[in-house]
């Protein structure tokens, strides 16, 4: 039987993004931002946008595939795919779904993308404002539990309390993203450095582990990647970035209602991480650079733990800024500034950064990386993660 895998079968041939804006500051409509990012990714790959034949997105992206296809004059739409789940849990899955489509022959040239204009549409950090809460929210919203931060905070409280992990470990994650953003001209927080004192003095969003700088920004913009079969990518302008592993989903009843997941204090990666490493035929020690989605710094911690990047008992010691820097850190983390400080593009900006690192043209270039990892939005369900590699890793 032929091995069933995406390892080395598909590649990211183009990356693109718009200017990133503070939320509500985009002069352009969300759909226009999506178009700009998609066209940029196509240009980067040297592909005529009309030759794109599929779109994959996540988080209920409002820029739908048929409208994109019509607006861009796509000759033939062969694949349109929306990954269930909120926020950026599906960022890696969208890339993988695009990859699955081109590997299976369902399509040839697929864009995975995310577009957000929160000035045009609602913000995430506020609860839904309708009068009656239905479904799960009927048991949450009347108690003042509405925002994403609140939905995840008790997972983080439980895990960190159980394992004795200090808030300083989360501070290191925040400081790292802000430090990297200072030398990234795309970053919304470039020119807005953060140090430990400013972090410690920042207001509580939620006790005991969410200060202001533990929380992502909300932004306007769009990002896109172009996914093609590996053999085609070899004839395109950039060094191909190969998909080595991809997995999505959640462990047993991770979406159980009203906070009843049996393994509750989790970012929901235990089974996803196992499947990811299986496909990639690699392990945590092989990763040269990590992009780990920060909705909240606690989720980065849990995601790293569940992928085996660090053990719970060594988290306090390992999670210090020196270990996470792009230049000489043991595990360079969120080298563009990530969701905290480059742009909250629901992790798509992290896929672009992973590709740039492997091409060798990132603004905070890690020395000669061969394997890059993207951990998608933690603590939602389904979650997803991705391993990318250079030609040398095949």
């Amino acid at each position: 039987m032929t091995e069933r895998t995406l390892r080395g079968k598909v590649a990211i041939a183009g990356v693109g993004e718009t200017t990133y804006y503070k939320h509500g500051r985009s002069p352009d409509a969300e759909f226009k931002l999506a178009l700009q990012a998609i066209i940029a990714a196509c240009r980067d790959a040297g592909v005529d946008p009309q030759d794109v034949d599929g779109f994959a997105s996540y988080g209920n992206d409002r820029s739908d595939a048929p409208r994109l296809a019509a607006a861009l004059g796509i000759r033939e739409l062969r694949f349109s795919n929306m990954h269930w789940g909120g926020g950026g849990g599906g960022v890696a899955a969208a890339v993988a779904n695009a990859g699955a489509a081109v590997h299976s022959g369902m399509a040839h040239c697929v864009i995975a993308f995310r577009s957000l204009a929160q000035g045009q549409f609602a913000r995430y950090g506020r609860g839904a404002q309708q009068a009656a809460a239905a479904g799960d929210d009927a048991f949450l919203a009347p108690y003042g539990l509405m925002s994403p931060a609140q939905r995840f905070a008790m997972k983080i409280t439980r895990y960190m309390t159980e394992h004795g992990i200090r808030h300083e470990a989360l501070r290191a994650i925040a400081l790292t993203s802000y430090a990297h953003a200072q030398t990234n001209p795309r970053a919304v927080m470039a020119g807005r450095p953060l140090d430990a004192a400013k972090y410690d003095a920042s207001r509580w969003i939620i006790e005991p582990f969410h200060r202001l700088f533990d929380c992502c920004m909300e932004n306007d913009g769009a990002g896109a990647v172009l996914v093609v079969p590996a053999e085609r990518a070899r004839d395109m302008p950039h060094k191909p970035t190969y998909l080595l592993g991809a997995a999505q989903g959640g462990h047993h009843r991770s979406a159980a209602p009203v906070h009843n997941a049996p393994d509750y204090a989790s970012a929901h990666f235990p089974t996803v991480a196992r499947n990811l490493w299986d496909m990639a035929q690699l392990g945590p020690k092989d990763v040269d650079v990590l992009q780990a989605y920060e909705n909240f710094t606690g989720g980065v911690l849990l995601g790293m733990l569940e992928h085996g990047m660090v053990r719970p008992e060594e988290a306090n010691e390992f999670l210090v800024p020196e270990n996470l820097r792009f230049d000489g850190g043991k595990l360079p983390l969120n080298t563009s500034g990530g969701n905290l400080a480059e742009c909250y593009m629901h992790g798509l900006e992290m896929v672009n950064e992973a590709v740039r690192q492997l091409r060798g043209d990132a603004c905070n270039q890690v020395k000669d990386p061969q394997v890059a990892m993207v951990i998608g939005g933690p603590m939602v369900t389904p979650v997803s993660s991705l391993i990318l590699g250079t030609e040398a890793t095949l």
Partner: protein, 147 residues
């Protein structure tokens, strides 16, 4: 008539009392904690769902359970996430597990000083908070530390 004391300001979303959860809401109005218990396999289930996740029976009964639990996790939000919370200040949300009902968990507010220290594992008991003037009326289940 004095105004009833609620844990949080009025104006937050009210619970839609949907068919799948109706016995729970009826129970709270009577001051009882009533949750799903499968008539097929006897497993407790919360939140409410149409099928038993363990044995796939659709014959889900509802049973009163002891209104006692222990704090499984907690949070103290400061940032107001709803206009009704503007200027209110911090409050405590607890996740309470019910050892008397297969350790299912419920979310509520912890009553008392909003600045109090909260301990995972602390014993709590339910306090029913009726909202009688709402349309339709409903009752929330809050928690306070025992002892």
């Amino acid at each position: 008539m004095s105004k009833p004391a609620y844990a949080l300001p009025e104006g937050l979303p009210t619970p839609a009392q949907e068919p799948v959860a109706l016995p729970y809401w009826e129970g709270t109005r009577a001051g009882k904690l009533v949750i799903q218990k499968c008539r097929g396999c006897g497993k407790h289930q919360w939140g409410p769902e149409w099928v038993c996740h363990a044995c796939h029976s659709f014959d889900l009964g509802w049973e009163e359970v002891a209104p006692r639990g222990r704090i499984y996790s907690w949070q103290r939000p400061h940032h107001p996430v709803h206009p009704a919370l503007e200027g209110h200040g911090p409050y405590i949300i607890v996740l309470v597990e019910l050892p008397g009902a297969g350790n299912v968990r419920m979310v509520g507010n912890l009553l008392g000083d909003p600045a109090q220290a909260v301990t995972i594992g602390a014993e709590v008991e339910a306090v029913f908070e009726p909202h009688d003037t709402a349309t339709p009326p409903y009752t929330l289940v809050q928690w306070r530390v025992v002892g």
